[in-house]
Amino acid sequence: MRRPSWRVESAPAVGGVGGSRALAYVPDDGGFALYNDYAEGVSVLSTAASRPEDEPAVFWRADRDRVRPHTLAPATEIDGYGIFTFPYGPISMGVPESGRFDVRTYGERVLGLVPVGGFKSRRIRDAVVGRPVVDAALLVERMAGNFSAAHVSAFLAAAESAEAKEVPTAEYWVRGLAQELQRIYNHLHLIARVAEAASQNVGLAQTHALAEEVLRVQAEFFGHRWLFGALIPGGPARRLAPADRHGLSERLGHLAEEFERLWLLFLESRTFIDRIQSTCPVARSEAIRWGAVGPTLRASGVAWDDRLRIPVPPYDDLFVPLPQESGGDALARVTVRAEEIRASFLILEQILDRWAAAGTENEPAGTPVAPGRGIGRVEAPSGDLVYDVRVTAGKVDALQLRSPSRANWPVFAAGMRDAVFTDFHFALESFGFAFAETDG
């Protein structure tokens, strides 16, 4: 097995940002390359072979060697008197998942940081091979429990595209509904974790209570707190009859009100704001250079959202707000998330309101990128999630994914340079990472 390697490639300026070098994560067989030129508003998805020679690039290759510990950002060679590597994790207080951070330091300050993954691999990517698509989906949604709707939606979209299969439009609407609900849950969860790091105990408890309420709503209307099994085409019955939709709408209205009250309290807390302001700043140029995605990217002043750039039903039919901040720090990331909670409530309202518009017809089949191979792409809570699936005779043949966590790790590592230890939790929690989806 080859270890993944980072390589510097010469390339023209990235998206109008000066500099002649860009980071390339060189793909090998079976992987795919992804290039986002955010400034130009172009997204190119291609296999390595088809990449134009002069194309500036930020590439990820699907990690082939996921099981053994491997670095998720370029290594740092920082040396000096008294400097050492402080291994933080995989089993440490404050590291919420099994993952390690190799912190290069002379004490107190983070001179360089490298996230190390591979401790949480459950080999889901291998386990799905040879299974029917529906069975595989049940495994894929366990990639990261709190992102299940995004993962299964992206996977199904990829598989359907690979099989050139028509899907009822209503399925897309259900996926949209579930994804927005789960986005609200995740953003609330993230705010709670940042509040916990800042010792905002009241804010923590109230935000958790709200997040729990969202989980209960999911349980009530989709039969599972984490939406497991709920998005399988023709899967378990969903309680989305007109009367139920009305009830759901009312529940969500209450939640939105509660959230507004709560967010106001957060904004009034100097302790909370002080701890996250100017923490782990990611400049716009850095975000583009490293290929950041999701709220992290939007907090650095880049307007990019898959729901708007690559619209699929129901988003092509809805008004999708695009919150954006320019600070690039933890405060900006948390603010974008809070704004996105509002946006998701608005989107949910539209979905429930215009449910009937989905109709009963089928969506036309997508074009496979190659025979039997499809790409599915959704805006997960933490950003752009891409699945690359090969299907042969109704069974999954190969699966690769590029999770938002995978894309944002190098950004986090870059932002943490020259920070102090105590910033770590505010910084980490503000990105919304999951080692689970990185390791698979």
Binding site: W6, G19, I78, G82, F84, T85, G107
Partner: protein
């Protein structure tokens, strides 16, 4: 001349004989020093127990009688230095493996000079001893291994400060001679401007040797920069500074009493600043000898603090506080000298077993040391960190108790000085804890890396362990020791004193130290009794109850395999927090060199650069500037006056001659 006098004379002469014998054989010099130290110890104990006595006597060149002898004050310093020297001499027998006898020669000569100046009964012999001591210890520093230009410059700094000190001491002695009309150590009655000149010259002159701020460079630089031999470092840091303290105590005891209020206040201020700076620099030092050297600055500062409190209390007529603070000053001097000896000896042990002075590279490689060396170092570091029931704990408690009573001072501005000094000493107590934990943890306690090579240093452990036992002994036996050194305080105060010792509740009378009437109380012997009682219960349970098989595991490293190279906390990292917090004092700055530094594209890998976090001693910058200015002035004079032009040179001589003639004529 009675028996004690004969012993004392034999001791002093013995050191000089040792210096001569060392030229024949190295070991002979150290062995003779060891015997002479024992004799000195016996005569010091005798003087404290049965009163002062005189030994060898002769007629001085100026027609005044001169003699060797011990009174209460000198007996105390003879006691402290001889305990140190017994340990260092025994240690030197195993430590010094050089082919040249120079180190042994200078060592014995330094000891002899200090013994001479402590036991001399008149100031002229004191001066001779003082100057010989400076020159002999200059010779010891020159014996350091390593880059010779570094060694030479360090030794030169030592000599420069040493000669400045001698000049000022000469001024002080001359002032005393003017006031009393004799070189004999007799108190002068009249206060006035001359007395203040003597006080200031003495404070700065002896302060230079004690290494107090702002002259602390004279203490740390020769030891740390040249990495002077460990036995020499111990003698320099423990007893050379003790000689400075002796000189200061002696001159103060001769000056009029009660002293002006500002004397004590100045001394208290200088002491507090030294305490803080010494502790701060010790906490951020990574040098196995530099760290103890900085700690010496801190401890000598504590002596000045206690002495300053005593002088203020005397001026304010607070007799109980005066006596208590004096006891604190003496006890502090003793506690520090002995613990610091063990620390330098263990630095030599680390040097022998790991061949490094860098605490970052030591990384626990001394952990497999002989048990005696480990226990001795543990006792010494804990004592210097003021942990009960060790000597340093008692002395720190006494100094703080004295400081707490500064509210009794008048007028208010002196209270304010006391308040600020108290805060500085308390902060320093925390900082020195960091320093000592670092020294101990990174040398003797840490589990060594599997790859680390280590060798035992034969014959060095015994003296370290013995000194550690003494540290424990004088800590636990503090009440009795304090009563024993009462003649010293009486000799300084020129009158009978009552030792601040008593009892409380069910603690027997005489087991406790009392600070003030009544203020605080501490019973050093009860502390270890309490610890022992607790330990006995636990040991009994271990023996008869819950004895379970011993389980040995690797330290938990967050789930990663432990002990990988480069993944262990460095001693530098341990104190970086202090470097950053105190950056306004330490002038902390980060220096980055290498590719990609300062380059906006540096975010692109590979990151490869060097980061160094540096701290500076602002006073060293000051002295460096002074040296540069001196160089500039002297070369300007050289080119201006001694330019080789005869006319200009003759004109210069003419002007000077005329000036002298006019001055003499005017004076006549």
């Amino acid at each position: 001349m009675d028996l004690l006098g004969a012993l004392l004379s034999a001791a002093v002469l013995g050191f000089f004989a040792g210096a001569v014998l060392s030229l024949l054989r190295r070991d002979l010099g150290y062995a003779t020093s060891l015997v002479a130290s024992v004799l000195l110890l016996v005569s010091a104990v005798g003087a404290l127990a049965w009163g002062s006595f005189t030994g060898l006597a002769w007629g001085g060149p100026l027609g005044e009688p001169e003699s060797l002898g011990l009174d209460g004050l000198s007996a105390f310093f003879a006691l402290a230095t001889s305990i140190v020297w017994i340990a260092t001499s025994a240690y030197s027998l195993a430590y010094d493996d050089r082919s040249s006898p120079s180190l042994a020669f200078c060592y014995a000569l330094t000891l002899g000079s200090i013994a001479l100046l402590v036991t001399s009964s008149d100031l002229l012999v004191f001066l001779i001893g003082w100057e010989t001591m400076t020159l002999a210890s200059y010779g010891m520093i020159l014996q350091a291994r390593g880059r010779s230009d570094r060694v030479f410059s360090a030794a030169f700094v030592f000599l420069a400060f040493g000669e400045a000190s001698t000049l000022l001491v000469v001024v002080a002695v001359a002032g005393l001679r003017v006031m009393s009309g004799s070189f004999a150590e007799v108190p002068v009655a009249v206060a006035g401007a001359t007395a203040s000149v003597v006080f200031l010259a003495g404070l700065i002159g002896f302060g230079l040797k004690m290494g107090v701020a702002p002259f602390h460079m004279s203490e740390w630089l020769p030891i740390a920069h040249s990495s002077a031999p460990s036995n020499a470092s111990a003698v320099l840091s423990s007893t050379l500074t003790l000689a400075g303290a002796y000189g200061l105590f002696r001159v103060l005891s001769l000056l009029p009493s009660p002293p002006p209020l500002w004397w004590g206040a100045v001394m208290l201020g200088i002491g507090a600043i030294s305490v803080l700076l010494g502790a701060l620099f010790a906490a951020v030092s990574e040098h196995t000898k530099g760290l103890p050297a900085y700690s010496t600055i801190e401890n000598n500062g504590l002596i000045l603090v206690a002495l300053g409190i005593a002088l203020i209390a005397r001026a304010d007529g607070l007799t109980d506080l005066y006596v208590f603070a004096l006891f604190a000053a003496f006890y502090q001097a003793l506690a520090h000298a002995i613990a610091k000896t063990a620390l330098f000896l263990s630095a030599g042990y680390i040097e022998h077993s790991t061949h490094t002075f860098d605490l970052n590279s030591t990384q626990g490689r001394a952990k497999d040391a002989d048990r005696a060396a480990r226990l001795g170092t543990i006792a010494a570091t804990l004592s210097l960190a003021a942990a009960p029931p060790l000597a340093g704990f008692v002395s720190e408690w006494m100094v703080l108790e004295a400081l707490f009573q500064s509210y009794r001072f008048s007028p208010e501005w002196v209270q304010f000085v006391g308040l600020l000094s108290g805060a500085a000493v308390a902060l320093a107590a925390g900082l020195i804890l960091v320093a000592m934990v670092k020294f101990l943890g990174f040398s003797f306690l840490w589990k060594p890396k599997p790859s680390a090579t280590r060798t035992r240093a034969r014959g060095l452990a015994g003296p370290i362990g013995a000194v550690g036992a003494v540290v424990l002994g004088i800590g636990v036996g503090a009440p009795w020791l304090i009563r024993f050194i009462a003649p010293t305080v009486a000799s300084f105060a020129q009158g009978p004193v009552v030792a601040p010792v008593g009892g409380l509740l069910s603690v027997p009378d005489g087991w406790s130290i009392l600070s003030g009437s009544p203020f605080g109380i501490l019973s050093p012997p009860v502390v270890p009794l309490g610890i022992a009682a607790g330990a006995a219960v636990a040991f009994g349970y271990y023996l008869f109850g819950g004895r379970s098989p011993t389980r040995r595991v690797d330290p938990w490293m967050a789930g990663s395999p432990p002990g990988r190279d480069g993944e262990t906390y460095t001693s530098f990292g341990y104190s970086t927090g202090i470097r950053i917090m105190m950056r306004s004092v330490l002038e902390t700055r980060e220096v980055r060199t290498g590719t990609g530094v300062g380059d906006p594209d540096a975010a692109t890998p590979p990151f490869a650069y060097n980061v160094d976090l540096e701290v500076l001693d602002v006073f060293k910058i000051f002295y460096d500037g002074l040296v540069r200015t001196g160089d500039a002035v002297s070369s300007a004079l050289k080119s201006g006056v001694m330019s080789g032009r005869l006319g200009r040179y003759l004109a210069y001589i003419l002007v000077v001659t005329l000036a002298v003639v006019i001055y003499v004529a005017a004076a006549a």
